[in-house]
């Protein structure tokens, strides 16, 4: 019995080392992406015209900041490579990316919905687009049944039409009316 637990613990430890290595690979990629972006922006800022009245022009500060960022990312990336090597390299990268995405499928689905919502908002106006967004998002999270459909409908009406009225009447903040209803 104790042997099996020990084996399981060892397997767990191995798995967690592999997991750490994979997380470190993901971070390494982020260091590289951020570092390259920073290097590009730093170069771009250096082309801004210098000022005649002061030693630092408009471009000097961003050049400095993004330069520092690029150096920090380089150091972090080198350290990440060393750590990954120490952990014995990372395997099953593709599969673990898949697991990562599957665990977060609802998060990304919600974000996708948000993007579509934001794109349609100027067209459809606040009340209508928000109603549709809320209804779909709530049903996506709760699953579709008679009860959830009913609850979601009520919540969607309150927080679309209701919020719009609250902001317009009480706070004098006018949310987008939408091109469709502008006339």
């Amino acid at each position: 019995m104790s042997q099996t637990t020990a084996k399981a613990a060892a397997a767990d430890a191995g798995a967690s080392a592999a997991l750490r290595a994979r997380t470190e690979v993901a971070r390494l990629i982020s260091y590289i992406v951020i570092g390259l972006g920073a290097a590009f922006l730093s170069l771009r800022a250096s082309t801004l015209p210098t000022s005649r009245w002061e030693p630092l022009g408009a471009g000097s500060f961003p050049e400095l900041v993004f330069g520092v960022l690029a150096v920090l990312c380089l150091i972090a990336a080198v350290r990440a490579v060393i750590d990954i090597r120490k952990a014995g390299g990372a395997n099953r990268l593709g599969a673990s990316l898949g697991e990562w995405l599957v665990a977060r499928r609802y998060s990304f689905a919600l974000f996708g919905l948000l993007v579509v919502y934001l794109l349609l908002l100027p067209l459809g106006g606040f009340s209508l687009t928000t109603f549709v967004f809320l209804l779909i998002a709530q049903l996506m999270i709760a699953g579709i049944s008679k009860k959830t459909l009913f609850q979601s409908l009520i919540a969607a009406v309150i927080f679309s039409v209701g919020l719009n009225m609250l902001f317009a009447e009480v706070f004098n903040v006018f949310l987008p009316r939408g091109v469709l209803f502008a006339g």
Binding site: R27, S30, L56, A58, F61, L118, L121, F133, L163, V173
Partner: protein, 508 residues
């Protein structure tokens, strides 16, 4: 002069409509923080668009009452469910939860509420005493000292928050970088806008803030969704709060109460470190100095008092550098600062001189807010317990809509909404990779201040060495260097401790 300003501020805070709004804010803060996964910061972000139409002091007072209420609300789910409602009530679960399980849920809650109240009041007293003289000194600082102060603030943020100094620094510098997009703060020359109309006006701080904190948090709430419900916690039907007896009990621990509050004030005043660190640190100190430390973790009242007084006291502490120096002590203070800027009030050491009624009004509002929190909690704590039952399907999408409204109402620009989406996705990515987000947000608000001071300094004297020859500036830069060295050392120490374990794993 001071009394005049104090009375003028009090007069505005005690206006009937302000009190009503503050009461609503207080309830909203408690409710929001009682919902696990909903942080105090998020509650304040959502309050912000509602305060645009109010006067500056009224708006800030409402946000302060959400803030004070929020620090207490986290206690409810911490004590009864064992889940910290906000990150700043993690240590509260250590003793309040066992006490509640042990048959005294009312005592646990009342202890927390009273400790929060006294913690806030003590921190406000320190704030009133410390902020004006600090501001007097701060006005005399030149651009060299200011720039060095910001460098120091950012290194402290990076080393205190999160698990990695390097990622903290990277996040802080990303924030500084984001703030350089758009017109430059001195001459208005467009920078790094790539001729895009979205980037032309720069990245509005509040849109960055909502995207980075709220959108990423909401997306995070749905991770692992559908894996089955979490364990149900039992909330007893009858809870006896014994309000007054517990108040006496809290006052019977004056040393612990004052020590924890002062820890909270100090931690709150450090840029970037907020309630979550103060909560743990105050608890730890209480345990260390207790005569029977073994009792901690089993429902010891001292543990509850320390953790709750500690996190609530950061509210007043965080306002000290904001009011005196114009440097926010936490993300929440950064939002308060931004809210004042929306009203055209520049926050800095001159705030207390130019807008004394506003500064003193904020002090009054802190005390009023903590009193309201106390009254609301004592009268209706039971109702708030129901809040923890609201399912995610309602909270996540509706809060997201509130974020969208907040980002839009700031400038009435639809392009801000596209920025919100993009920044939200970036924030979620950074959060998933364990980058701390607070340094980034502070970087965005401190960036323009740092740049303006750096350029002013070099305009009056093009010599870089002045930064090291002016004594205060040199001390601040040395402190920045020390804080980095110190945290690198502690990381190395931790690695040494970990090494045997990793070697073993490699051997497998």
């Amino acid at each position: 002069m001071m009394l005049d300003a104090f009375l003028a501020g009090a007069h505005q805070v005690f206006a009937f409509d302000t009190l009503i709004y503050m009461l609503i804010g207080s309830v909203a803060g408690i409710v929001a923080a009682a919902i696990p996964g909903f942080t105090v910061t998020m509650a304040i972000i959502l309050t912000l668009p509602l305060t645009f139409t109010m006067g500056p002091l009224q708006g800030v007072s409402v946000m302060l009452s959400v803030y004070v209420g929020g620090y207490t609300g986290g206690l409810i789910s911490a004590a009864l469910l064992g889940i910290p409602g906000t990150p700043s009530s993690v240590a509260t679960t250590f003793d309040a939860y066992p006490m509640a399980r042990g048959g005294e849920p009312g005592r646990a809650l009342s202890l927390g509420v009273w400790s929060s109240f006294f913690g806030t009041v003590i921190s406000t007293i320190v704030l009133i005493i410390a902020a004006p003289p600090l501001a007097m000194i701060a006005v005399k600082l030149g651009p060299w000292e200011y720039f060095s102060l910001i460098v120091f603030a950012l290194t402290i943020v990076a080393s205190l928050v999160g698990n990695s100094l390097m990622r903290g620094l990277i996040a802080g510098v990303i924030g500084l970088g984001l703030a350089t997009i758009g017109p430059d703060p001195m001459m208005g020359q467009p920078r790094l806008t790539f001729e895009s109309s979205v980037l032309m006006p720069g990245l509005p701080f509040l849109v960055v803030l909502i995207g980075i904190f709220a959108i990423s948090q909401l997306m995070g709430e749905l991770e692992d969704h559908g894996k089955g419900p979490s364990s149900d916690a039992l909330i007893p039907d009858v809870i006896e709060f014994k309000t007054w007896a517990v108040m006496r009990e809290v006052l019977m621990h004056p040393v612990n109460l004052v020590r924890s509050s002062l820890i909270g004030v100090f931690i709150g005043a450090l840029p970037g470190a907020g309630g979550s660190i103060a909560n743990l640190l105050a608890y730890d100190q209480a345990k260390r100095s207790s005569i029977n430390p073994d009792e901690f973790g089993k429902g010891n009242p001292d543990g509850v008092i320390a953790s709750e007084a500690g996190n609530s006291a950061t509210a007043g502490g965080g306002l000290i550098p904001m009011i005196a120096l114009g440097i926010p002590g936490s993300a929440v203070d950064a939002i308060l600062m931004a809210a004042l800027m929306v009203h055209g009030i520049s926050v800095g050491p001159r705030l207390i001189m130019d807008n004394a009624d506003l500064a003193y009004g904020m002090f009054v509002a802190m005390v009023v807010a903590s009193l309201m929190m106390l009254v609301v909690c004592v009268l209706s704590m039971r109702l708030f317990l129901r809040v923890t039952d609201i399912p995610k399907q309602f909270i996540v999408p509706t809060v997201m809509i509130c974020c969208v409204i907040g980002a839009f109402a700031l400038n009435n620009r639809v392009t801000d909404l596209y920025l919100l989406g993009a920044i939200g996705l970036v924030g979620y990515g950074l959060k998933s990779l364990d980058y701390p987000l607070a340094p980034l947000v502070l970087g965005v608000i401190l960036g323009p201040i740092a740049e303006t001071n750096l350029r002013r300094a070099l305009m009056s004297d093009a010599d870089w060495t002045v930064f090291f020859t002016r004594p205060i500036s040199a001390v601040l830069l040395a402190a920045a260097l020390l804080s980095v060295i110190f945290s690198i050392r502690s990381v190395l120490k931790m690695r040494k401790k970990d090494r045997p374990a990793t070697d073993e794993q490699n051997g497998d």
